[in-house]
């Protein structure tokens, strides 16, 4: 599903942030990406979303080389992944429904289908009935569930989350993590970056550990 082959990332300002990263995620696998703050977790995920470009090496997603992807292919590559962010990245002036519907509208679904799929996604994250609310009217945990609903609404084969529980208290964090596990059990590949070691220990799944830009275990 996802394969890193000797990937390095260098920034002009900060030098080499990722060095010689190689690993593979099979379809339907779940893994946590950990490491201290500044280890390069976000950078690694950005390479997958092609928000940053690799300096060296190849990243394969479903047989497609992301490091060589052309600019105009990026929208279509990104539609195959569901990204989840620590700060949710919701549109504050749009309703929950509109936020979750955005990937579908972008992908060109008819209104009927948008309606059906958004309802299904909101049901999956237990937000049924909140369609008409605005993000600021929801708690942090609920906002993150909206972010998750938006990531899964178009049923991407891979879900990528960058510190999805960073702003949540431990109870809510565990709940969100369990949500991800449930997606994995339905056959979705999941990669979650987090520095919350205690949480990962509870979950007992594969862990990829980054230290100073190198993969030290996993």
């Amino acid at each position: 599903m996802l394969k890193f082959e000797r990937v390095s990332k260098r920034y002009h300002e900060t030098g080499e942030v990722l060095t010689d990263i190689s690993f593979q995620l099979k379809a339907g696998e779940i893994a946590f990406l950990t490491g201290h703050s500044g280890a390069g977790k976000s950078t690694l995920l950005k390479l997958i979303g092609v928000m940053e470009r690799c300096s060296q090496g190849d990243i394969w997603l479903d047989g497609e080389n992301l490091c060589q992807a052309k600019q105009r292919q990026l929208p279509f590559i990104r539609r195959k992944m569901g990204f989840i962010y620590q700060d949710y990245k919701l549109l504050q002036d749009r309703t929950i429904f509109d936020n979750v519907a955005l990937p579908l509208i972008i992908a060109g679904f008819s209104y009927q289908e948008v309606l059906r799929k958004v309802r299904a996604a909101l049901e999956k994250v237990s937000l049924t009935g909140k369609e008409k609310k605005y993000p600021y009217a929801l708690s942090g945990g609920e906002q993150q569930r909206v972010g998750i609903a938006r990531a899964i609404v178009n049923r991407p084969p891979i879900i990528i989350a960058d510190e999805p529980t960073g702003n949540l208290d431990p109870d809510l964090a565990l709940e969100i993590m369990n949500l991800f596990v449930s997606f994995q059990q339905l056959g979705v590949t999941v990669l979650i970056a987090t520095h919350d070691i205690s949480l990962i220990d509870k979950m007992n799944h594969r862990v990829l550990k980054l230290s100073q830009g190198r993969l030290v275990s996993g």
């Binding site: 928000m51 539609r79 549109l91 060109g108 289908e113 999956k124 049923r155 709940e175 449930s182 339905l186």
Partner: protein, 337 residues
């Protein structure tokens, strides 16, 4: 607590695979894609309108300035449309003023006028007798009192001669002028074409500058509309970035902004049409009465249906173009990659 447990339970209900199959079938066929495409455009059309209405002051200011620019261009165009037939008919409206010698009486002038009328190059003659000339002079010049002080009427009889329809150019008028000059009772013959020529050259100048003025106004309109779109893009920067992260193409991101440009152009085009038409209606009477002085058969031309469509079409195109230009430039800086 209760809801949380519920959450987990719902999550483990596995209807998803079944749903995936349904989805593929439903989303697969061409008609559905077409409908989705139409939905997306209709959505963008009204969404962009909603955005514009949400900042009414800004939008109104932009529309006002755009409307003024477009109305000036349209009014100018209309002026030329009205002047063109006018300049054509002016060519034939040259006339000769035949000043008779001072001792010639009104009665003699009438006889002379009848003989002049026999000339095949003449279509009509009018005799302005001494008394009428004096009355006209008094009412038009304001020197009435000075004339009165003279005691006698110093004005000669004037016969105005309208040349035949086939005489159009100054050169063709010359033989007629010459023939009239030879007559005994004639003091002087004056050809009143100079003002026609002046007017025609002014009209020509206006027609020539039309292109330049309209081009300048179009550029101004582009900048006004473009600036509004730029502001709109700026205030929605976060949204643009998020949409890109979710896999929006540039086309998708540009769509609502292009529609915003379309709305601005369309509405200001319609407003400009109304402004010019209302102004024309207000000025109608005075303009027509002035025009009637010069021969009577002039009608003020308003926008035709074709002109109206052209005006609104052009202003709409301008709005879209402005938006497009701004997007090409600005979207490069709103990239997550």
């Amino acid at each position: 607590m209760k809801r949380r447990r519920q959450t987990r339970e719902i999550n483990y209900v596995p209807p998803v695979k079944q749903e995936i199959r349904q989805t593929k079938r439903a989303g697969g066929d061409f008609i559905d894609k077409l409908l989705a495409y139409r939905d997306a455009h209709v959505f963008a059309l009204f969404f962009s309108l909603g955005r514009l209405l949400r900042s009414p002051f800004n939008t109104l200011m932009t529309l006002a300035v755009l409307t003024v620019a477009i109305a000036i261009a349209a009014g100018f165009q209309l002026l030329v449309i009205n002047l063109q037939p006018l300049s054509g008919s002016l060519e034939t409206s040259a006339q000769l003023s035949v000043f008779l010698k001072n001792h010639i009486s009104d009665a003699d002038a009438k006889k002379l006028a009848e003989t002049i009328r026999q000339n095949p190059d003449v279509s009509d003659v009018t005799v302005i007798g001494k008394d009428q000339a004096l009355a006209d002079f008094k009412s038009y010049s304001g020197f009435g009192d000075a004339i009165e002080a003279l005691g006698t009427n110093p004005l000669p009889v004037v016969i105005t001669v309208l040349p035949a329809d086939n005489i159009k150019k100054q050169a063709q008028l010359e033989p007629l002028q010459h023939a009239l000059q030879q007559l005994d009772s004639v003091d002087a013959v004056q050809v009143d074409t100079l003002w026609v020529e002046r007017l025609q050259s002014i009209i020509a100048l206006i027609e020539k500058s039309l292109g330049t003025v309209n081009a300048l106004l179009a550029v101004a309109a582009l900048f006004i509309a473009g600036n509004t779109i730029r502001q709109e893009l700026h205030s929605r920067r976060q949204e643009v970035i998020i949409a890109k992260l979710i896999g929006a193409t540039n086309g998708f991101i540009q769509r609502p902004f292009l529609y915003a440009g379309l709305w601005l152009g369309f509405v200001s085009g319609v407003l400009a049409w109304f402004v010019v038409t209302v102004l024309m209606l207000l000025l109608w009477h005075s303009i027509e009465s002035v025009l009637r002085l010069y021969g009577g058969s002039f009608h003020l031309l308003f926008f035709s249906v074709a002109d109206t469509l052209k005006l609104i079409g052009l202003s709409t195109t301008l709005g879209v173009l402005a938006s497009w230009a701004v997007l090409q430039y600005q979207l490069r800086y709103a990239v997550p990659e």
